[in-house]
């Protein structure tokens, strides 16, 4: 027997989201973002959210949708500003923005899921990122202390999942989804294809279902491309 984590849809999947919560959103740019959960959070209307996500979407898509409705109080990201509304809110002071190095962002997710409360990294030493942080030298090199995140929910997106929450990602859409799945107190996975347990080869699973509390098949995935770059056929 395996544990059935399937919920009916995005509305059920986001149950428990409240104002002022800290929520993780997987994805890199618009690649591998939990589109259906974002739409459901917008619909549900929770405000004052702190969003941990590598990027902040674009106008009208991805986390840009939650910025439009002013549901986000603070963004914790490594790279932002491909988004006019984001820029406007940031410059006007409506939106708090915490920019942190991408590897530190990933490791703060992984650490949260792995029971590591804090860790030392060389990234950011000697820069404004290190301000106020403990410095220690290891192997002749300075490192700064960074803490694991603490997020009530993590929304991730996978290509395939089974009813027990085991996940398989496609190509670079894996990005932050795996570490965030580990980190969420409640991790919600939306998948393009949902299969019964036993159908996924255990050797091929990227994220074990133990990290996932809820799973659903997304109704639609727009999968917008941010920078379409091609070469002509010879």
């Amino acid at each position: 027997m395996s544990i059935n984590k399937v919920v009916a849809g995005p509305k059920e999947a986001i149950q428990g989201i409240q104002d002022n919560m800290t929520i993780m959103f997987g994805g890199f740019g618009l690649c591998g973002i939990p589109e259906n959960a974002i739409a459901a959070v917008r619909e549900q209307g929770a405000k004052g959210l702190t969003c941990i996500s590598n990027n902040a979407g674009v106008d009208g898509f991805g986390l840009g949708l939650l910025l439009e409705t002013r549901q986000v109080k603070k963004m914790i990201s490594s790279y932002v500003g491909e988004n006019d509304e984001f820029e406007r809110q940031m410059l006007s002071g409506e939106l708090e923005v915490d920019l942190i190095p991408q590897g530190t962002l990933a490791e703060r997710c992984r650490a949260a899921g792995a029971g590591i409360p804090a860790f030392f990294t060389p990234a950011g030493f000697g820069t404004e990122v290190a301000l106020g942080k403990e410095v220690r030298w290891f192997n002749g090199k300075p490192h700064i202390l960074e803490h694991a995140f603490d997020a009530s929910f993590a929304f991730v997106k996978a290509q395939k999942g089974d009813t027990a929450g085991n996940l398989i990602f496609n190509a670079t859409a894996r990005n932050f989804n795996h570490a965030m799945a580990m980190a969420g107190k409640v991790t919600v996975a939306e998948v393009e294809e949902l299969v019964p347990v036993g159908e996924l080869d255990p050797n091929e699973i990227h994220t074990p279902g133990i990290f996932v509390q809820r799973i659903f098949k997304g109704e639609t995935f727009e999968k917008r491309i941010e920078q379409r770059t091609v070469r002509p056929k010879a």
Binding site: F28, G29, L30, C31, G32, N54, S77, S78, Y79, V80, G81, E82, E87, M90, L91, L99, I100, P101, Q102, G103, T104, L105, A106, E107, C109, R110, T121, P122, A123, G124, F125, G126, T127, E128, V129, Q159, F169, N170, A171, T172, A173, R174, N175, F176, N177, H178, A179, H206, K223, R224, I225, E226, Q227, R228, T229, V230, R231, P232, K233
Partner: protein, 217 residues
């Protein structure tokens, strides 16, 4: 004097067979166009892949397959995908042999500034701080001076830093220099560029020892 492609072409000479390489956005991306014939190198993209290939043919682009600049790309045979924390384990753990980055400023002690201009919209450092803090071999690709003709190779950076004492080599439109304890050590000048021109364009300490050869492209 070199253009951006020339800088990339010169940096490609730093590649060695079997290297894993991370290329930053801008001039560094162009390095991939000049891999010497018969040499095997693999490109790491910090959003989670090794074995990055060229842009896809029109109509074959895949929203799930992008590089760190969010551009659609392809995968070469032997490519592998992984999650962000594994990607930065490769970077922090010094498994990447060569990192090529752009910069707004570099100091003669190897500090680099390339992420923030105060007063302008700040977009973030992305993976640059992790890369510069850990990579053992960092080559900076940049123009020697800004549009106003002012040196970008300085005694001390004026912009907010991305990392300290981390750059190993700088390749500009005018010259190739190594970072040493005494400052920028001039190794080569660009075709048609005199040592005097490099001197005039360099605000940081510049070490000139003996005859400086011209770059071969």
């Amino acid at each position: 004097m070199l253009d951006k492609n020339g800088i990339a072409q010169r940096i490609a000479q730093e590649l060695k067979d079997g290297y894993y390489v991370n290329l930053g956005i801008g001039i560094p991306t162009l390095v991939a166009n000049y891999i010497p014939q018969g040499m095997d190198v693999e490109f790491q993209s910090e959003n989670g892949m090794l074995g990055m290939g060229p842009f896809p043919f029109e109509g074959e682009e895949d929203a799930d397959l992008i590089n760190a600049g969010k551009q659609t790309i392809t995968a070469l045979p032997g490519a592998v995908y992984f999650d962000s924390s594994t990607s930065f384990a490769m970077i922090r753990g010094q498994h990447v042999d060569l990192t090529v980055l752009g910069a707004m400023e570099v100091s003669d002690s190897g500090d680099i500034a390339n992420w923030k201009i105060p007063g302008r919209m700040v977009k973030g450092m992305g993976g640059a701080m992790d890369l510069v803090a850990s990579a053992k071999n960092i080559i900076v690709a940049m123009m020697h001076t800004n549009k106003a003709g002012e040196s970008k190779l300085l005694r001390q950076c004026t912009l907010p830093l991305t990392g300290v004492k981390c750059v190993t080599r700088v390749v500009t439109n005018l010259a190739v220099m190594d970072i040493t304890d005494q400052g920028f050590k001039l190794l080569e000048t660009a075709p048609g560029v005199s040592v005097e021109q490099v001197k005039n364009a360099t605000e940081g300490r510049l070490i000139i020892e003996g005859d400086i050869p011209e770059m071969k492209l």
